[in-house]
């Protein structure tokens, strides 16, 4: 999801740019030092100014690159290929005590950027810190304790079975150096202004408008990274559009309204973009509504909606229609039952009308709540209204302020709404967030998922089954069960995938992720994926 106001600002900027035609071209991304590969200019998140915060456990305000480029995780999970896990600071992991303990064997000869060796003490310290400071424990890991078994072996104990949390433990918890962080009284407010990490980069320069990372000479992967300097200038959403047009930025993650005109500028082989799915946008029916609670009504709604048209008109063809299970395709095949792998949506107005025969037409009036700053969703809502009118369902679309929408959907105070669900490392996480009964609070209380309030024993059983095993095949089987429920019972109606924005120029560096080689999320704002991308880049023309 992008920030609400950004889009309006982006629109305003586009207006100016569209009028200008393509006047840019100058600018350039800063001169290269002679004989050296040029710096890469990156825009990760919209910011007018930066704060000096490099604490990887802060939620917002932490500068991008802290996690992945400076502080590394134990393993790397490729979200575009669920199940593909690469050993990183840890070479191996082994579960014991029925998933309540995990032992990591660490890579040796890894050094912190200040020269001190990286050991099991650092890993233990990091997880102990999360336990002691719940504010930093953003994944809510139920850590009981840690034990250093050898300089390269550490065990972490949990209060509950944590197989399904491997991503949060190993893929989303950057390790921090004990010898520096132990001196800090309160790591929760520590801003880590001089970060020392194991990662491929170190911080070399910081000001409110620009920070710069340079290659860590003692990085454990010899010869890498090949990009010597990465610069992060502060761009607001508005200013970024101009910068992209003028070619100042090499790698950005932004919504660009008319990408061919503003960014590609007739050079598709150089000014590339790749928008893989990073989540699912669904039409949420409030299942506590007496009419929407009926499966045949949801079925009829789903049959009447022309999703292709929504993607084409409201989403500018930047994304694709979702698989009916909601699972991200391609990539998630193994998580969908065989008989449904090729399933696709087809509009069928006649059948929809047939399904609605037994229902009093007077009851088929719903309000569709959308956040008005998300202009694409507002357009999608209009299209849905038109489609549903064809089968006799009256939909009132209502745009509200972002805050209001968050609050109303959270509390279940709506009939229909549109909402995105993040994909997570495997499709299970997305479906859990959409369907898990325990996430749904009674109407009037804020939920943190399952906003449509789906209550189903079978669903909860499958979710528990996944969480109780580390066997990939069994995890996939449980997720297939969830996918089947999505398709057959329609607790929520998938519309399209939410795209992850990534624009990258190949005039300085090549080796970016692509549809053919999706080795990591291509967006500069996804960590630690962005570090994986930087490690794969090679100077152009070599």
């Amino acid at each position: 999801m992008r920030r609400p106001v950004s889009r309006i600002a982006a629109m305003a900027a586009t207006l100016a740019l569209a009028l200008a035609g393509c006047s840019g071209g100058g600018g350039g991304g800063g001169a290269a030092k002679s004989g050296d590969a040029p710096p890469l200019v990156v825009h990760a998140v919209d910011a007018g100014t930066f704060q000096e915060d490099f604490n990887p456990y802060h939620l917002e305000g932490v500068n991008f690159g802290t996690s992945g480029m400076i502080h590394e995780t134990l393993m790397f999970f490729n979200k575009l290929k669920p199940g593909e896990i690469t050993p990183w600071l840890a070479l191996e992991h082994e579960w014991s005590d029925k998933g309540k303990s995990v032992t990591f064997t660490l890579r040796q000869n890894v050094k912190w950027s200040d020269g001190k060796p990286f050991t099991a003490d650092d890993v233990a310290f990091t997880f102990d810190m999360l336990k002691k400071h719940p504010q930093l424990n953003k994944s809510a890991l139920e850590i009981e304790g840690t034990e250093v078994l050898a300089p390269d072996k550490v065990r972490i104990d949990f209060a509950a079975t944590s197989y399904a949390k491997l991503y949060d433990i190993a893929g989303n918890s950057p390790i921090v150096p004990k010898h520096i962080w132990e001196k800090e009284k309160d790591p929760a407010t520590f801003t880590n202004p001089k970060p020392v990490g194991t990662g491929p980069y170190t911080l070399s320069k910081f000001s409110a408008q620009l920070y710069e990372l340079v290659k860590n000479p003692s990085y454990w992967q010899p010869g890498k990274p090949e990009v010597p300097v990465v610069r992060f200038p502060a761009y607001t959403a508005n200013a970024l559009q101009t910068a992209l047009q003028q070619g100042e930025v090499d790698w950005a993650g932004a919504f660009v309204p008319d990408i061919d005109k503003i960014y590609v500028q007739g050079k598709p082989e150089q000014n590339k973009y790749f928008f893989p799915p990073e989540g699912l946008v669904t039409l949420l029916p409030n299942l506590t509504h007496p009419v929407l609670g009926k499966p045949e009504v949801r079925q009829a709604i789903s049959l009447a909606i022309d999703r292709e048209k929504i993607v084409r008109i409201a989403e500018r063809d930047y994304t694709k229609v979702a698989h009916p299970s909601g699972v991200t395709m391609p990539g998630g095949e193994a998580y969908v039952p065989e008989e449904y792998r090729d399933a696709a949506y087809k509009v069928d107005i006649e059948k929809a009308k047939e399904l609605l025969k037994g229902i009093d037409p007077a009851q088929l009036t719903f309000e569709l709540l959308v956040p008005s700053p998300y202009t694409d969703w507002v357009n999608a809502a209009q299209l849905i209204r038109e489609d549903l009118a064809k089968v006799g369902i009256t939909v009132e679309t209502r745009g509200v302020a972002f805050q209001d929408w968050v609050s109303k959907v959270g509390k279940g105070d709506y009939d229909l709404s549109i909402r995105g669900t993040p994909a997570g490392p495997t499709p299970y996480f997305q479906l859990r967030s959409l369907l898990y009964g325990k996430l749904a609070k009674p109407v009037g209380e804020s939920s943190t998922g399952n906003y449509e309030r789906w209550k189903d024993e079978e669903t909860d059983k499958l979710i528990a089954e996944y969480a109780a095993t580390e066997d990939l095949a069994e995890q996939q089987k449980a997720t297939q069960g969830l996918a089947k429920i999505m398709i057959e019972k329609l607790p929520a109606l998938p519309l399209f995938y939410s795209p992850s924005w990534a624009q990258f120029r190949t005039n300085k560096y090549v080796g970016w992720p692509s549809e053919q080689d999706p080795y990591a999320m291509p967006s500069p704002y996804t960590s630690p994926d962005a570090a994986m991308v930087l490690l794969r880049l090679k100077p152009a023309g070599t």
């Binding site: 800063g30 802060h58 409110a208």
Partner: protein, 326 residues
């Protein structure tokens, strides 16, 4: 003195009202900051983690009254809390970092626009009936056009098409902030276009206001008297007519000085200028109560102080208020 004491009492009361409203208004917004954060964050968030976030941000479920008392106590120590958007940066730091940019840009531009506008108004009133009257429709037009439109138009022409001026940020990426010639030069260069838009857009008000009052004043007996005495027209224009006509303009100047701090949101958004307006926008987007409160507080205090200064200026400039106060 009684006049001043009465005004001071009035300002204290207003300050209290402003501080209280400042506390209430953000809390009347729907939703809460953590919910918003969860909605924007890309990962799945566990309920337990949400409680932890609430704790970290210092969002309490305490009664409104208790929160109000805490707020006043903290305020009396000068503590504004930590910003949620820029956690864990203190709100006072965020304000201290952004306020100089706003005051430097908008303050200076307002002053320039006031001086030029007033002078032009005086001259145009004096030379009414000549070709100078042709400026009036233009001024009325500028007065009516929305500010951001002027700004966008100027950005488009001078920034994007002609590329004479940078279109965003407060200084170039290649300079290091500090007290050196390069940096100062870059700051001035980057401030030029936004400053020009502010001057152009707000000058019209001053011209029209000053000219209209001036025309009325020129019909007064003492002006005729001054002319009859054979004083130079320059003396009559500035010392007799303008000095009396300027009073309403002083009020509006003082008011606009107060709004320098808060009224710059649009300029800063259009030009991506790192001032207090951009911070306020960020704060509102993220329901960052502490940050919003801090900025609103600064804005309301600035307006009050500016008003007080206007009152003082009145006492100096207008003998009638002095008489009343004796």
């Amino acid at each position: 003195m009684r006049f001043l004491a009465r005004r001071l009492g009035f300002y204290l009361l207003t300050a209290w009202a402003a501080i209280t409203l400042n506390f209430l208004i953000p809390r009347l917004m729907p939703g809460d900051p953590v919910e918003l954060l969860v909605a924007r964050m890309k990962g799945n968030v566990e309920p337990a983690a949400i409680d932890a976030m609430r704790k970290a941000f210092g969002i309490s479920d305490a009664s409104l009254w208790q929160q109000y008392v805490d707020y006043l106590v903290n305020l009396s120590h000068g503590e504004l809390g930590r910003s949620i958007t820029f956690y864990p940066t203190e709100v006072s730091t965020v304000i201290a970092d952004s306020l100089p940019w706003t005051i430097g840009l908008v303050g200076v531009a307002t002053l320039i626009s006031y001086l030029i506008g007033t002078a032009l108004g005086v001259i145009m009133a004096w030379k009414r009936g000549t070709w100078l009257d042709g400026v009036l429709p233009a001024a009325t037009f500028m007065h009516a056009v929305p500010y951001f439109w002027v700004a966008l138009a100027l950005v488009f022409v001078f920034g994007v098409t002609l590329q004479w001026f940078p279109v965003s940020r407060a200084y170039g990426l290649d300079v290091t902030p500090g007290f050196n010639a390069e940096f100062v030069q870059s700051v001035l260069y980057h401030a030029a276009l936004p400053a020009i838009t502010i001057v152009v857009a707000s000058m019209a008000d001053r011209i029209l206001g000053m000219r209209n009052v001036m025309v009325t004043t020129l019909g007064e007996d003492y002006v005729v008297m001054a002319e009859a005495k054979g004083l130079t027209s320059r003396r009559v224009m500035w010392a007799y007519a303008a000095r009396n006509a300027i009073l309403p303009n002083i009020t509006s100047f003082a008011l606009s000085l107060g709004f320098v701090v808060g009224g710059s949101v649009l300029t800063e958004i259009v030009f991506s200028y790192p001032g207090i307006g951009s911070m306020l926008l960020k704060g509102v987007e993220n329901e960052d109560f502490p940050l919003m409160q801090g900025i609103f507080l600064v804005i309301s205090l600035a307006v009050l102080v500016a008003n007080f200064l206007a009152d003082l200026a009145y006492v100096v400039l207008d003998p009638r208020t002095r008489q009343e106060s004796e």
